[in-house]
């Protein structure tokens, strides 16, 4: 009995334990069911389509979006469970990718155009725990379209984009960026040092200086330079860069665009050439017509003067001399000489009136425009141009075109003067500041070779030049323009080398009183 009782107790304990196990199992099963339900809910609530295949390519599950998609294709998801993929779908575009994941057990993301749905889809394919594969599929048509627009936009506008990671020195280029540089994205890995090699040697240091300056001040930059493609053709590009800072304000990256300016540049150059030619022809024609007109207007009275003088000699030479005729001839000589003089005075007055186009204007505006005009030339010559324009300058009374001719002439001279110094020390400063209370001082300072004392004494003389192909008229004309404005133009050496040309312009207030 004793034994039986023990047996019963033991059995009861076992039953109890079993019941606990069962309860535990029931709990676990409930939890598992709940978890499975939750997973199902999660899978159903995501918008991506989900389906799983076992190792024999049989469908094991679908989420709701997948079932809906199948329905749209005329298939019943529930009926597909247990069916083999290859039996149901003869044409599976990423078949090779599916097979690769099944074989290699490595996740793959793959995009393809699904013609039946007229959509671009992205399949993320994972190896499943049961030895099969799991596929998450989403529509990416919209993204693909935007990417396409972007690429088309880049191609059509000749604009490439890039990003430079300042920590790693890595450079990322868009496809259009590669195309502009004539490089193959498959073969070339761009970097900042390799970038410099593709820049035209004459523009390299200017670009490097500008970029390094931008990095120092964490600023933007906007540069035009030339690149040399592998096939040795030269393209003009403009690069814009925008700094990207982290939360601590440290510069981490530059993002930017590179724009192919070659065609625009070519068109501009053609336009400039045509305009310059037109201006030249117009000027020459106008001068030619003026010269012919002056020649005739002045020549007639001069012819009369000369002819009267000849006849005067003959009347005096006659025997006896005809004093009355001599008197008349002399009077005609005086009258006609005065007439010739009056013609010249009239022309002078006309020329003066034609050129007097003075308006009240801001010197700084005129200088900024000159800066815009010479910017390309300045960069091409490896010169750093700095504007030092005092704020709130008084207005001057000036002919803007003439004023700009003077400044342009001084700037181009300065650039020429710096050809003989290394391009790392070519600095040009264009400045404007008040000069006393009733004038503005314009300064053009270079770090070129400077003038010797003899040159400085004669540099404003007409036909004096220090250039092999110079006319020697630029500074003479400049000085006469400045003086016609009531100002002075002079030059002086810099303490640290180079030359400074300066001129004054009276303020409009003082010029008008």
């Amino acid at each position: 009995m004793e034994d039986r009782t023990d047996e019963v107790v033991r059995l009861r304990a076992q039953i109890e334990a079993l019941r606990e196990d069962i309860q535990k199992l029931e709990r676990t099963s409930g939890e598992m069911q709940a978890a499975a339900g939750r997973h199902e809910n999660i899978l159903d609530s995501i918008t991506d389509r989900f389906f799983a295949l076992d190792k024999d390519w049989r469908f094991t599950s679908f989420n709701k979006p997948a079932a809906l998609q199948l329905k749209a294709l005329g298939k019943d998801a529930a009926a597909l469970i247990g069916k083999r993929l290859w039996d149901e779908f003869s044409d599976v575009p990423p078949a090779e990718t599916f097979r690769a994941v099944m074989r290699d057990r490595i996740p793959v993301t793959h995009e393809h155009y699904y013609a039946l749905l007229n959509e671009w889809v992205e399949n993320r394919i994972f190896p499943g725990a049961d030895g099969g594969i799991i596929v998450l599929q989403c529509y990416v048509t919209r993204r693909k379209r935007i990417e396409g627009y972007l690429a088309d936009g880049q191609r059509l506008s000749g604009t490439g984009t890039w990003a430079l990671n300042l920590g790693s020195g890595e450079l990322f280029w868009s496809a259009e960026h590669f195309r502009i540089f004539g490089l193959d994205p498959e073969k070339v890995k761009p970097s900042y040092p390799s970038l410099l090699e593709w820049i035209h040697p004459q523009d390299r240091s200017a670009l490097q200086n500008a970029f390094e300056h931008a990095v120092r001040v964490k600023g933007e930059y906007d540069m035009e330079f030339r690149i040399v493609r592998p096939d040795r053709t030269i393209r003009h590009v403009r690069a814009l860069a925008h700094p990207v800072m982290n939360d601590d304000g440290e510069l981490v990256e530059y993002v930017g665009a590179v724009i192919d300016m070659t065609e625009r540049r070519r068109a501009e150059e053609a336009l400039n050439t045509v305009q310059a030619e037109l201006a030249r022809v117009t000027r020459v024609t106008a001068l030619g017509e003026l010269a012919v007109s002056i020649a005739h207007e002045v020549n007639q009275p001069l012819t009369a003067v000369v002819t009267n003088a000849y006849s005067l000699m003959r009347w005096l030479d006659a025997d006896p001399a005809d004093l009355q005729e001599s008197q008349s001839a002399t009077e005609r000589i005086i009258r006609d000489a005065k007439r010739a003089s009056a013609v010249i005075a009239r022309i002078r007055a006309f020329v003066k009136r034609g050129n007097d186009r003075k308006t009240r204007m801001q010197v700084n505006d005129a200088l900024r425009e000159v800066d815009g005009l010479v910017r390309r030339e300045v960069q091409a010559q490896g010169v750093m141009l700095t504007l030092e324009l005092a704020a709130a300058l008084p207005l001057v009374l000036a002919d803007k075109i003439e004023l700009q001719q003077v400044v342009l002439n001084l700037v181009l001279n300065a650039i020429d003067a710096m050809r003989g110094v290394p391009d790392t020390s070519r600095f040009l400063t264009l400045g404007a500041e008040p000069y006393g209370v009733d004038a503005v001082l314009v300064t053009v300072r270079d770090t070129g070779l400077g003038l010797n004392p003899h040159q400085r004494n004669h540099v404003f003389d007409a036909f004096f030049t220090t250039k092999p192909d110079g006319m020697g008229m630029g500074l003479a004309i400049s000085r006469s323009i400045v003086e016609a404005h009531g100002g002075h133009l002079w030059t002086s050496p810099n303490d640290d080398g180079g030359e400074t040309f300066q001129f004054t312009l009276p303020t409009a207030a003082s010029a008008e009183c």
Partner: protein
């Protein structure tokens, strides 16, 4: 250069000072001068046939001097032209010279250059005028011939023998000889060769 007596110089220039000065210069060497401010006014002027030349400015209001040159040639007014211009180019002077201009001078010119050109022009004009006078006299003489005499003269200058002329005209050879003598007398011809030259001039 010796100036032909009674030569007249016509001056066409739009500039009064130039006209006055030229007039004074030409009068100082004893030339007759007539000045005109435009081509139109000169065209209206009928020259008297005495030796003359024209000093003509290339640039004139209402048509160039070159146009006037062409107009005079078309009108048969044979007058030597000396062009003067303030802005002559080679093409213009070549055109003027080809059209028969005597000279092409740039203003202002040397007095002697102009006077030499005028002298040459007046000599040419005088020669032409003399030739015209002689032709006129010849015509007057020819007019005095009878119609029969003119007929006979035609045969003589054609080199026909008297007997051929006689048989063709149906007259005797003697009569032909009489006509010949009268023709020679009336035309003041020294020889048959002389008469042939006269016939050529009469055309």
């Amino acid at each position: 250069m010796l100036m032909p007596a009674m030569g007249t110089v016509f001056v066409v220039d739009d500039d009064e000072s130039v006209r006055e000065a030229l007039s004074s210069l030409l009068r100082s060497v004893g030339l007759r001068v007539e000045t005109f401010p435009s081509a139109q006014e000169f065209i209206r002027y009928e020259p008297d046939g005495a030796p003359a030349c024209l000093v003509l400015d290339v640039r004139l209001p209402g048509g160039s001097g070159l146009d006037l040159q062409g107009e005079l040639a078309r009108a048969g007014k044979d007058i030597p032209i000396i062009f003067v211009t303030a802005h002559g180019d080679i093409r213009m002077s070549v055109r003027a010279m080809k059209a028969g201009a005597m000279e092409f001078l740039s203003k202002p010119f040397r007095d002697q250059d102009l006077l030499d050109a005028i002298g040459k022009a007046l000599v040419r004009s005088e020669d032409a005028s003399l030739a015209r006078t002689r032709l006129a006299e010849l015509r007057v003489r020819y007019e005095t011939l009878t119609s029969r005499q003119r007929e006979v003269m035609g045969h003589v200058v054609a080199g026909r023998l008297n007997k051929h002329t006689a048989s063709e005209l149906g007259i005797s050879e003697i009569t032909v000889k009489v006509h010949r003598r009268h023709i020679m007398e009336k035309m003041l011809a020294q020889s048959v060769a002389d008469l042939v030259r006269m016939a050529e001039k009469l055309g």
